[in-house]
């Protein structure tokens, strides 16, 4: 177990190192940060002075070396726009994004499991056919379209839900949460639905096909032959095995969900780190862009580690610390 965690830690460091090199080498193609820092009529001479001061004229290796030296001490640079350490800025926005992802995951879990299982057990039922059809539509419509449509329907036309932002948040042991106020919860509804709209259909289909496969397997046939209760067969024997691959995919998809927050957050003006990233790209705030990529890389590694741990719990045949052969 410990060896596994240490190996993961080394992996994480390696992943982040690679990301930092890639991010650093593309920064020249992102544009000129000075354009966003200076007014239009500032002379070229003035620009050069500032560029020198910021070290933007130094060769790549010197710039990267300087970055690495600071990064080892946990300093990933200072955002040009926020004028604060990039990591602090991102950590400030992290709760908003995680709550959005959490809300969307909740919706996905609550709806995909029952619908997927139902569709596997009664494939010919009208509801199964309806949800399969709807899921195709759901997969094909881009997130930002779902988001804008839902704003127009539920905020502008009906006036039921707020159109943007996080609403009222309260401090919960240093974590600013929208889950504990009525206003905050109301603001969460549309963004969470929009964000889940991509993954939910995917999971319904995944659970359905996995479940159907399991229902065809020998041991389930044997269970039927033994005369077990249908419920016991479906929910105890079949579902448990269905969920194994779903957990693996789910772990990877949580990372993807974080990537999709970029679109959702932009449309809803959600003050999270996805929106922050898009803004940073527009403003060529390179330190912030690099820090974001590294942090997201870290989140990917962490979620995958957690998934592997859970997998080990659900399926005892998988041992994380297999002796090296």
């Amino acid at each position: 177990m410990l060896a596994f965690l240490i190996r993961r830690l080394v992996q994480a460091a390696l992943v982040m190192f690679v990301i930092s090199i890639i991010a650093f080498s593309i920064q020249d193609n992102l544009g000129d940060p000075l354009r966003e820092l200076l007014g239009q009529s500032v002379s070229e001479k003035q620009r050069q002075i500032l560029r020198d001061k910021m070290g933007l004229n130094d060769p790549f290796l010197i710039q990267y070396g300087r970055f690495l030296k600071k990064a080892i001490h946990g300093d990933l640079g200072t955002s040009y726009f926020f004028k604060r350490p990039a990591v602090d800025v991102i950590l400030d926005k992290l709760p908003a994004t995680l709550e959005l992802v959490f809300g969307a995951s909740l919706i996905i879990i609550v709806f995909s499991v029952p619908i997927g299982v139902f569709a596997a057990i009664y494939p010919k039922h009208w509801f199964s056919k309806f949800s399969m059809g709807a899921s195709i539509v759901g997969i094909s419509i881009p997130v930002f379209l779902t988001a804008i449509l839902s704003i127009y329907v539920f905020s502008v036309e009906f006036g039921w839900l707020p159109s943007f932002g996080r609403g009222e948040t309260v401090d919960f042991f240093g974590w600013r949460t929208g889950f504990l106020t009525r206003d905050g919860l109301v603001h969460l509804i549309l963004p969470c639905i929009a964000l889940s709209s991509i993954m939910l259909p995917l999971f319904i289909r995944l659970i359905r096909s996995e479940m159907m496969e399991v229902l065809e397997s020998e041991y389930v046939k044997f269970a039927w032959a033994k005369g077990l209760q249908p419920r016991r067969i479906w929910f105890l024997h079949a579902l448990k095995n269905t969920l194994l691959p779903v957990i693996t995919v789910g772990g990877v998809q949580i990372g993807t969900l974080i990537a999709f927050t970029i679109l959702t957050e932009t449309v809803f003006q959600w003050p999270g780190m996805g929106f922050l990233f898009l803004e940073a790209v527009n403003r060529v705030d390179t330190p912030l862009i690099i820090a974001y990529l590294i942090v997201v890389g870290l989140i990917f590694v962490i979620t995958n580690t957690i998934v592997d741990l859970i997998y080990g719990l659900v399926n005892p045949t998988v041992r994380l610390t297999r002796p090296q052969e």
């Binding site: 544009g31 070229e44 910021m54 726009f81 004028k83 127009y152 929106f275």
Partner: protein, 517 residues
Amino acid sequence: MKRFKALAAAALLSAFALSGVQARTLKMAYDADPVSLDPHEQLSGGTLQLSHMIFDPLIRWNQELGFDPRLAEKWERIDEKTVRFSLRKGVKFHSGNEMTALDVRWTFDRLKRSPDFKGIFAPFEALNIVDKYTIDIVTKEPYPLVLHTATYIFPMDRKFYDGYDAKGRPKDAIVKHGDAFASTNASGTGPFVITSREQGVKVEFERFGDYWDKGSPGNVSKIVFTPIKEDPTRVAALLSGDVDFIAPVPPADLQRIDKDPNTDLVTMSGTRIITFQLNQNRRPEFKDKRVRQAIVHAVNNEGIVEKIMRGFGTAAAQQSPKGYLGYDPKLKPRYDLAKAKQLMMDAGYGNGFSVTMMAPNNRYVNDDKIAEAVAGMLSKINIKVDLKTMPKAQYWPKFDERAADIMMIGWHSDTEDSSNFTEFLLMTPDKETGYGQYNSGNFSNAKVDELVLANQKETDVKKRTAMLQEIEQILYDDAAFVPLHWQDRAWAARKGVEIAPIVNVMNFPYLGDLVIK
């Protein structure tokens, strides 16, 4: 934060003291929030909008492009290099300090140090104190734009910015990147005090109880400012009643907002000219005046305004918008395809040629669609265009490299004066003086250069007007650039929020004077 709270408490107390005025809250959304609270850090629309909320200028523009007194009550030219301003007495900063000539001089000296503003203040020699409430602004040469420039002087609280912050850095330092006292703290004389600020999320203002302008009809006691980046979301926020006031308004939604019984739309012809420049260094063909004229004649800019901008603009034939001294009503858009073809034949390019074109896709309203349309129009005179559009962040470095034969640029004059357009866009490029910094076409006309330099020293308005109009005429005849249009400006508000009197073409809504019914 502590300071914010103390100021907020003071503001609130004094706001209650004001009787008879019905206190209102304004919820507003722009596309971005100000980068910094330091009025001298970045010369941008966002900074100036904020400056008009927490600071006050000496004088400010009115809707007729004239000047209204603010912290300066009166002004007069006392000789050809000096203008004397009388300051308003008894004006209090948010900190409680009184504003005097010393604060104005301190602010002026700081402006001269700011990388963004020093260019505008370069013609100025000094700001001399005559007495506690009187100052002289002295220019190096006779200078016609003293008043224009005085709209940029927002006196700052000298004592507030005096000394060192917790990390031992001077509080008045102007820092572009990295944190500084002045970019997160402010004390001005303006109608509003910032009570909380979360960058990129929300800024909250309270009305300053000791605000000097007791004659202002404004009744907004609290402002909640939220940046909403996405156009559809910003519009939805207004339509659903989540906010009271939005800007900018995307052209696609103008009609909808106009027709909605609960919202008001205010539009105004703008001052930002959108143009294409034809690079004569890269393309020998563009050195021929007839080819340039042919291109101008082939571009149906009135059609672009009507079809692509949906009327949200004014087709242009010159740089100066109406109201500027250089504006010449005789210069009209000149779309004429037959003439364009003839000119191409005359120049010996009847069979045309191929060029490259670049334009941004998120800088100006519909910029990429405009570029596509122009590329299509040029194909009719056999000029084949290879068009590339890209986000502004990538576009500007390309523009600096002069990376294409035809490049788009929009320009708004920081001085609100005609001369500024030519100085940056069309004077012969000169690295030393900085003139022609954005002249990607490398257009050069000695007479134009001479006139621009001469007009900068001409204080007689009539003579200057003649010079500036002559410049426009030469540029028109030479087809120095391809004029497209001046982008309109639009603001929208919930009914009852009376924005029409407080908005202006510079896009600094004077929110202190806003009345909400």
